[in-house]
């Protein structure tokens, strides 16, 4: 069970003077249950790449398979395969449109022909997952919620589609630190509780480092690095720099300690452990 891209190239404005290959010959397999982070500089092809995961874009050449099904074939099975990928775009709250939170979340499943009773269960579950109280929020208009709450309603709308694969493009952009931590916490819970596959596009290196078990770094339409976040942030800093991607601030700080001669294990992604390591090293020192 996986999403598989084979030799995928996508060319914008093909056969015009502005022709540009946004992604080139991408081979990638995202397996069920993975938590994949995708990072890259603006224009590196991240968004183009993720739009191939559920068939929003059709490759100029190459093939996309979801669970073994070529999604660009005609017919019901291909359509269902595409539907197993839920996509949360940047600023998803701009897509809210219904009169109540309940109706907004119910819109997707209803379109898929889900029965009303099942819809209600899904809406409840989805709201629960994003940490909003059903009784309190279901009847409210989505437009007078705070930014963070609107974002969560929008994510709930995708979760209610019951996708096997959840793709999120910058879900924390514009949220304050608390809102960001909440959203990421909920995505993490969802991943752990249901085993849902998560693909997360983010500029926030620390969060990617902490949550993802696999990291893909895009550069100029190609996959530059693909591996474990700790390994990439610690051992491939020159390549990250080349890709215009920041190393997490904590890794930078740990580098500085090393340069001053402190012997520490710098492959850490949380401050508490890092502080412990430094403390031990100084005491040994």
């Amino acid at each position: 069970m996986s999403i598989r891209l084979q030799d995928v190239t996508y060319i914008y404005m093909s056969k015009t003077p502005y022709e540009k290959a946004a992604i080139k010959k991408i081979d990638l397999e995202i397996k069920q249950g993975e938590f994949v982070g995708i990072i890259g500089h603006t224009g590196s092809g991240k968004s183009t790449l993720v739009q191939h995961l559920n068939g929003l874009l059709k490759p100029s050449s190459g093939m996309v398979h979801i669970d073994g099904q070529n999604i660009h074939e005609k017919g019901e099975t291909a359509r269902n395969a595409k539907r197993s990928v839920g996509m949360v775009f940047q600023y998803p709250e701009h897509q809210l449109f219904e009169e109540s939170v309940y109706e907004d979340i119910a819109f997707g499943p209803r379109n898929l022909g889900v029965k009303e009773k099942e819809i209600e269960t899904r809406v409840k579950k989805a709201l629960d997952f994003v940490g909003l109280d059903f009784e309190k929020f279901a009847k409210r208009t989505p437009f007078q919620l705070s930014g963070g709450q609107m974002r969560r309603v929008a994510i709930a709308g995708v979760v209610a589609l019951d996708p096997k694969y959840l793709v999120l493009d910058e879900p924390s952009a514009g949220l304050d630190p608390r809102g960001r931590d909440e959203i990421f916490g909920q995505i993490m819970n969802l991943h752990q509780a249901t085993g849902i596959t998560v693909v997360l596009v983010s500029h926030n290196m620390e969060d990617v480092a902490r949550m993802a078990n696999r990291l893909i770094v895009m550069n100029k339409g190609e996959i530059l690095l693909d591996g474990k976040p700790k390994d990439i942030f610690c051992n491939h800093q020159a390549q990250l720099k080349e890709a215009g991607v920041d190393v997490p601030p904590l890794t930078l700080l740990m580098n500085q300690f090393k340069q001053r001669g402190l012997e520490i294990d710098s492959a850490v992604v949380d401050i508490a452990t890092a502080a412990q390591n430094v403390y031990k090293a100084v005491r040994r020192g």
């Binding site: 500089h41 603006t42 224009g43 409210r140 208009t141 007078q144 705070s146 930014g147 963070g148 952009a173 514009g174 949220l175 304050d176 630190p177 608390r178 809102g179 500029h203 215009g244 991607v245 920041d246 601030p249 904590l250 930078l252 700080l253 500085q256 300690f257 001053r260 001669g261 402190l262 401050i271 508490a272 890092a274 502080a275 412990q276 430094v278 403390y279 100084v282």
Partner: protein, 277 residues
């Protein structure tokens, strides 16, 4: 350093859903000097943006006063002058670009002010140079990156000869490089042209660059001071739901592990020197 912005006992109330009154700003008192760089931080809904919108009279206080260079924003007669002297840059770069060419976009402000064409051309050239976008003069803004678009928006403000820039989360939608471009542009303008800057952000590493940091919570100013004083209060900021710079939190953890680390550390370099002298 004279005061440029004076906010006295200012309140702003608006009606939310079901006729409920919300006090977005609750007796705010702030004074910002000419040429000062002030960062405002706070969670969503703390009143930062509402405050910013008072600074060029997009909103008028429900009670209290907001004075810009001595002019009361309540006074209709001052409106044009206030809007000219305080330029705003918002979060979404796509919502504030109006023209199809970069130079036309920058010229939009001065054109509206009735500046003679020749002078407009000079101002546009100068403003684009100031933000490092002179090579993009004839470009179409929608093909620029987010950071470039924000710099064009800043140039638009400069071309109006505003002496104060109010930026409301200008980097929230940008990638790390775009964020760096915008911040360094603002810092340089502040340094070289003595422009007063009010910079709202969620990124603490940006707020660290300011002369002074104001922390807002539920419509009130709850902390205020130089970055060192504010960011060394790790616990307090965390309670407010805010981040602290990595170095400050790291220092805090080391202190908890009984290491002797000075209280006012907020940058990596300071921390590294304190740990390995």
């Amino acid at each position: 350093m004279g005061e440029f912005i004076t906010v006295k006992d200012m309140c702003h109330t608006y009606l939310a859903h079901e006729g409920e009154e919300v006090q977005a700003l609750d007796h705010i008192n702030i004074a910002i000097g000419k040429g000062e760089f002030v960062a405002i931080i706070g969670t969503n809904g703390s009143g930062k943006s509402t405050l910013a919108k008072h600074l060029n009279a997009l909103l008028i206080p429900s009670s209290g006063q907001c004075l810009i260079d001595g002019m009361d924003t309540k006074d209709q007669e001052n409106l044009w002058e206030i809007r000219q002297s305080v330029g705003m840059v918002f979060q979404n770069p796509d919502n504030q670009i109006v023209a199809t060419l970069v130079e036309e976009d920058v010229a939009f402000g001065p054109e509206n002010l009735g500046v003679p064409p020749k002078e407009i051309r000079n101002r546009v050239t100068e403003a684009l140079k100031d933000v490092g976008m002179e090579d993009y003069r004839q470009h179409s803004p929608h093909l620029l990156s987010g950071g470039q678009k924000q710099r064009v928006a800043i140039a638009g403000v400069l071309a109006m000869r505003s002496n104060c820039l109010v930026l409301d989360e200008p980097t929230a939608m940008l990638d790390p490089q775009g964020r760096q471009e915008v911040l360094s542009t603002v810092l340089r303008l502040h340094r070289e042209q003595n422009i007063t800057v009010v910079y709202i952000t969620h990124f603490m590493e940006e707020a660290v660059a300011a002369d002074r940091v104001i922390v807002m919570e539920q419509g009130k100013v709850v902390m205020e001071g130089v970055p060192k004083t504010v960011f060394s209060q790790v616990n307090r900021l965390k309670e407010l739901g805010l981040d602290v710079p990595v170095a400050a939190e790291f220092a805090y953890r080391l202190r908890q592990l009984t290491m002797k680390i000075p209280e006012d550390i907020i940058t990596d370099t300071e921390l590294v020197v304190a740990v390995c002298p």
